[in-house]
């Protein structure tokens, strides 16, 4: 038993060394190992922000599997580049800037035909929330309708709506990310919602 424990310990040590090398290569900095402390600290940030990062990315790409991949990329990059963040207070804006860039990068590479294929799978899971059947159906209709109409908004408005409702950021944080003023964010949200209302009314939708 002792022999096998030692063997496995050695194996784990080798793997840890390999990981350290991988990270150092990614950073192009002198080799440093991934400590448990680094992982734990980052794990807390991950845990805290994962749901909203996921919701934001999903709000932008509307595909679960792609969203999970993008979110994984976002946190990988955030971990690797975290040392470059000067102010810890700016972490949220910085994280969502990475997310925003990753989404943009995805859209540059995305082949539209591949997307429609995957939407149905998510549909079931997304709407599998604990509500009464009637309430669930009604809410599903509202959300579906709204989602369709949102897609018709200009990209910048979609972006700001997603940062507001999916990422649940403050107007100041959004302003930092999209490089505008807080006033502009407030007005953009207002205008975007007004367009949605007008379009919902045009197609006979109800908000109540």
């Amino acid at each position: 038993m002792t022999a096998m424990r030692i063997a496995l310990t050695n194996q784990l040590n080798r793997r840890t060394a390999t990981r350290a090398k991988s990270v150092s290569e990614a950073q192009s900095t002198p080799a440093r190992s991934l400590s448990g402390g680094q992982i734990s600290e980052f794990a807390e940030l991950y845990r805290q922000h994962f749901p909203k990062v996921f919701a934001y990315v999903y709000g932008r790409v509307q595909d679960k599997e792609i969203s999970l991949d993008i979110v994984s990329d976002v946190f990988e990059k955030a971990f690797v580049k975290k040392q470059s963040l000067r102010s810890p207070d700016a972490f949220i804006s910085w994280l969502f800037t990475i997310a925003r860039n990753e989404v943009s990068s995805h859209w540059r590479k995305e082949k539209p035909a591949a997307r429609a294929f995957q939407a149905a799978a998510w549909e079931n899971e997304f709407h599998h929330q604990p509500r009464s059947p009637e309430e669930s159906l009604l809410q599903k209709e509202r959300i579906d309708s709204l989602t369709q109409l949102l897609r018709a908004l200009p990209p910048r408005e979609q972006e700001i709506i997603s940062l507001k409702f999916d990422a649940e950021l403050t107007n100041r944080e959004i302003a930092q990310i999209v490089n505008t003023s807080e006033v502009n964010v407030r007005v953009t949200v207002f205008r975007a919602l007004r367009k949605l209302r007008q379009r919902m009314q045009a197609v006979g939708g109800s908000t109540g």
């Binding site: 038993m1 002792t2 022999a3 096998m4 424990r5 496995l8 310990t9 194996q11 793997r15 390999t18 990981r19 991988s22 990270v23 990614a26 991934l34 448990g36 992982i39 734990s40 794990a43 845990r47 994962f50 749901p51 909203k52 996921f54 919701a55 999903y58 709000g59 679960k64 969203s67 999970l68 994984s72 990988e76 971990f79 690797v80 799978a121 079931n124 899971e125 997304f126 599998h128 809410q139 509202r142 709204l146 507001k164 409702f165 999916d166 649940e168 403050t170 107007n171 006033v183 407030r186 007005v187 949200v189 207002f190 205008r191 919602l193 007004r194 949605l196 209302r197 908000t207 109540g208």
Partner: protein, 338 residues
């Protein structure tokens, strides 16, 4: 009211909504409807966040694996192929939640040859004799010090995501021989005294099973202190062949190392009282002189409560529906021997 003023008013109400407060009703019909639309959009976002949260652990492991450069490991275990791990996880999920869509979990199937079907399975010993060795064989050797310092394990503990279990891409080393540790017959009260902890007893077991042993072993499975209390259950045929159905319930201190299992073999559950638990499907076994992870019907449910780690292990044919393991665990939570 000017446009900007109305935008500010709406912005404040939306911020209230995001904070979970119910904003005051607007006198302005348009603003009221805009706020309702905002509410629907927020509901959609939170639904997405809720469902996304179910994948939090999987994505974290992916991030960690990439950061730690494990993708280039040897492919023989199949653990480095995300589609294999995902498919395995998907099947496990469906066994617990048969009503959910399989497409959500990806459509990949395991590659042939990844799981070697013919290899020698660990020889099962009589329950009365060497159950600790049997269990060690089933879950793989636990390193004395290695995993405790491993970042992945630290994270698993930190997040509390997989109770007492951490995933690994590589199998443990081949053991030369398993230690045999003798146990003695005890009552639950005696076991509690020996362990220095209250132990739990199931209120029910699946139909056809009966208790065949209650033993205390002086060496723990994963704990750094104390021994382990074992309750063994078998069907009327007893533990006579390698495929005889068995339920083994181990109770030890919730300390020391986690149980190493193959990536993609675990599913996080929550017991009825909110206690987190981890279900593991499969076990390590030998094949061609190496240890491989076999989806051979063996399954374990691990949870921790009041300083006690409980591992409910089932193997044999036919395998139990894992819901039974959850039922056993929930029965145990209700009855504690002081």
């Amino acid at each position: 009211m000017k446009g900007r003023e109305r935008a500010n008013k709406l912005a404040r109400a939306i911020d209230d909504l995001l904070q979970g407060c119910r904003p005051d009703k607007f006198d302005d019909e348009e603003l009221e409807e805009l706020l309702q639309i905002a509410g629907i959009r927020l509901d959609a976002a939170r639904s997405a966040a809720h469902v996304g949260a179910q994948h939090e652990g999987m994505v974290w492991r992916q991030v960690l694996d990439r950061l730690q450069g494990e993708e280039a490991s040897e492919p023989v275990w199949g653990a480095n192929d995300p589609s294999v791990a995902q498919a395995r996880w998907g099947r496990l999920w469906l066994r617990i939640h048969p009503g959910r869509s399989t497409r959500l979990l990806g459509s990949h199937q395991p590659r042939s040859g990844v799981f070697e079907p013919g290899g020698h399975r660990w020889r099962k010993l009589a329950v009365a004799g060497a159950v600790v060795a049997l269990f060690l064989a089933a879950i793989g050797p636990i390193p004395a010090t290695g995993l405790a310092d491993h970042p992945a394990v630290q994270f698993a503990r930190f997040v509390g995501e997989h109770v007492g279990v951490s995933e690994t891409a590589a199998p443990p080393a081949v053991p030369a021989a398993a230690d045999i540790v003798g146990g003695s017959d005890v009552t639950a009260d005696q076991a509690a005294e020996l362990l220095g902890l209250s132990v739990l007893k199931p209120t029910s077991v699946p139909p056809g099973f009966r208790q065949v042993a209650a033993k205390y072993f002086p060496r723990a499975l994963t704990a750094s202190e104390g021994g382990v209390f074992l309750l063994a259950y078998a069907t009327d045929g007893g533990v006579e062949t390698a495929n005889s159905p068995t339920i083994l319930i181990y109770q030890e201190h919730a300390s020391g190392t986690d149980i190493a299992v193959l990536q993609g073999s675990i599913l996080d559950l929550t017991l009825s009282d909110g206690t987190p638990a981890t279900l593991v499907e499969g076990s390590w076994r030998t094949s061609g002189g190496q240890i491989v992870w076999g989806e051979d019907g063996a399954q374990s449910l691990v949870f921790e409560r009041a300083g006690l780690r409980v591992t409910i292990y089932n193997a044999g044919e036919p395998p139990l529906n894992p819901a039974y393991l959850q039922t056993i665990a929930e029965g145990m939570i209700g009855v504690a021997t002081p």
